[in-house]
């Protein structure tokens, strides 16, 4: 009843303005969303077509019937299973390394008062300014001297020695945890390592999740590292395999799109499951980094 009555009063200028602003926002957002999603749709659609139908004119908007065998081909005729395994292995190890080493160092920078702490923290942050292209040549020389070229080691071992970004992210989070917890634990006879392991880490699950996600994604999508270090096809990660693929199957778009889709699916699944951590991490690292 009340609602029916309200319908008859004329909306105020403010209400009209608000409605227009919302309509405009939805229009822009939807337009952008379509622009964002269409290339992905087109990739998947193309991956489900036969050679001939890929080049159909006008383009076949919906593959009918979808040709799933293109995906089968990826895994039976091409070693895509191996590539997926390699990518998972390298990215997982990289992630574990970043989280472990960064959290340890971040704990020290946040909670242990050692000599030269502030200077060392600045030195760590300054490492963020150094582009990878500068260090890659000497690193390659070192890796080749110790026989690590054409192995996965160069792609994950450095992570176990700290990441400036990870340290920064975790230190900022550690600083928000009340110092009283530290003091209480100390009185109870807990060592620094005990405090790190039993108090700080369990309390930092959200930031660990964020850092783990960003690290995993960075490693999963990395091209420059694998391009430089891997020659043996059995060691290829997905991005590297895709670039080689482009050389071999230049006009076989269906295969190329199927390969790209396969490389995207795992990360998409992780992203959809852990979105809130990811978005928070991006915003946090973006706004304060």
């Amino acid at each position: 009843m009340v609602d029916a009555k309200r319908e008859w009063t004329l909306p105020s200028a403010r209400q009209v303005g608000g409605f227009l602003a919302k309509a405009w926002a939805y229009f822009l957002m939807t337009l952008t969303a379509v622009t964002m999603i269409f290339p992905f749709y087109w990739m998947v659609a193309t991956s489900l077509k036969s050679e001939a139908r890929v080049f159909a004119f006008p383009p076949e908007w919906i593959p009918n019937p979808p040709l799933w065998s293109n995906y089968l081909y990826m895994f039976t005729e091409l070693p895509f299973g191996q590539y997926v395994f390699n990518s998972v292995k390298v990215s997982l190890l990289w992630t574990v390394g970043v989280v472990l080493s960064s959290s340890l160092a971040a704990y020290a920078f946040a909670r242990v008062k050692f000599w030269g702490r502030n200077v060392l923290f600045l030195v760590t942050l300054a490492a963020l300014m150094i582009p990878g292209q500068v260090t890659m040549i000497p690193l390659y020389v070192v890796m080749s001297r110790i026989g690590w070229v054409n192995t996965h080691y160069p792609l994950f071992v450095p992570a176990f020695f700290g990441s400036a970004f990870g340290i920064f992210l975790m230190r900022q989070y550690f600083l928000t945890i009340p110092q009283e917890l530290n003091d209480a634990a100390k009185i109870d006879g807990c060592s620094h390592f005990g405090i790190y392991l039993r108090i700080m880490m369990p309390l930092s699950k959200p930031v660990i999740a964020t850092l783990a996600l960003l690290s995993f994604m960075g490693s999963w999508n990395d091209l420059l590292g694998p391009v430089i270090y891997l020659y043996d096809q059995n060691l290829f990660t997905l991005p590297l395999a895709l670039t080689r693929f482009r050389g071999m199957y230049y006009t076989q778009w269906a295969y190329m799109m199927a390969g790209a889709t396969v490389s995207l699916l795992p990360i998409l699944a992780i992203f959809l499951l852990t979105q809130q951590y990811f978005v928070r991490g991006v915003v946090l690292s973006g706004l304060k980094g």
Partner: protein
Amino acid sequence: MSTVKSTMKVAGSTWAAQSGPLSAWWFRLSNNEHFVGYIFIAPLLVGLLVFTYGPVLAAFGLSFTKGDYISTPKWIGLDNYRALLQDELFWKSLWNTVYYVVGVVPLGIVLSLLLALAMNQKLRGIVFYRSIFFLPTITSSVAISLMWLWIYNPEFGVLNFLLRLVGVKGPAWLSTPEWAMPAVIIMAVWRGLGYNMLIFLAGLQGIPEVYYEAAEIDGAGGWAKFRYITVPLLSPTTFMLLILGLIGAFQVFEYTYVMTGGGPLYSTLTMVLYVYTNAFRFFEMGYASALAYVLFFILLGLTLVQFKYQDRWVHYE
């Protein structure tokens, strides 16, 4: 005071004496903040030395040498830098990179700000839209590049088909020197849009509503509010996106490596691609190091200049 301290010391050492001199030593050490601190950061210190600062210095040294990874590098002084000044491809790659940066960064910032402004209100379904906007950010540049390679295909690409529908004859995008770089730029702006927009949105939502309300009472219109509240209060976000955007864009590599390999006619040869080519295709270790250092100095210079002039336009609350 001093007696209390010395009794405590005595108590500690009796405890330690009972369990042997080695554990006494360990007991004292493990309670030493400096020692514990350095144990915690030991991996980091090794990492900084071996993976960051050591290589940075080594690269600087290598940039004065000629070498191919196998033989011992030969000292040639400033010859690499001299050669670089004469190298047409170096200038070409520098120009291409600047072209790319100038295309991507401002366009990306303006478009994403416009979107964020429209979205900065209570809207339903924002989480759904957000996931879609993030899709290009989480996808690898390699997959993105392959995707757009197919979209840009001159004869069968969907872009030129759509252009034909509205009566425009699309260019051969990546296979023409004039259009290759713009095509890469369009793709890069498309990819970064959602990310930039979300950062802007977070920045906008951090601006307290009271400022706008106060301005409204003073009779400020929409433009005035935008110009005198939103723009200055958003400037730290804009500054950060600008810095990160510039640094990222200067290091563009994957797109041009996958899509064009630097062609056609070197029109998309970017600096990092040129460093990579010299280092791992021509095995010109020294020359590539010199190139990398030039890039490093450009980035450093840009960042310093930005920070120096930031107080002219960046306002922190």
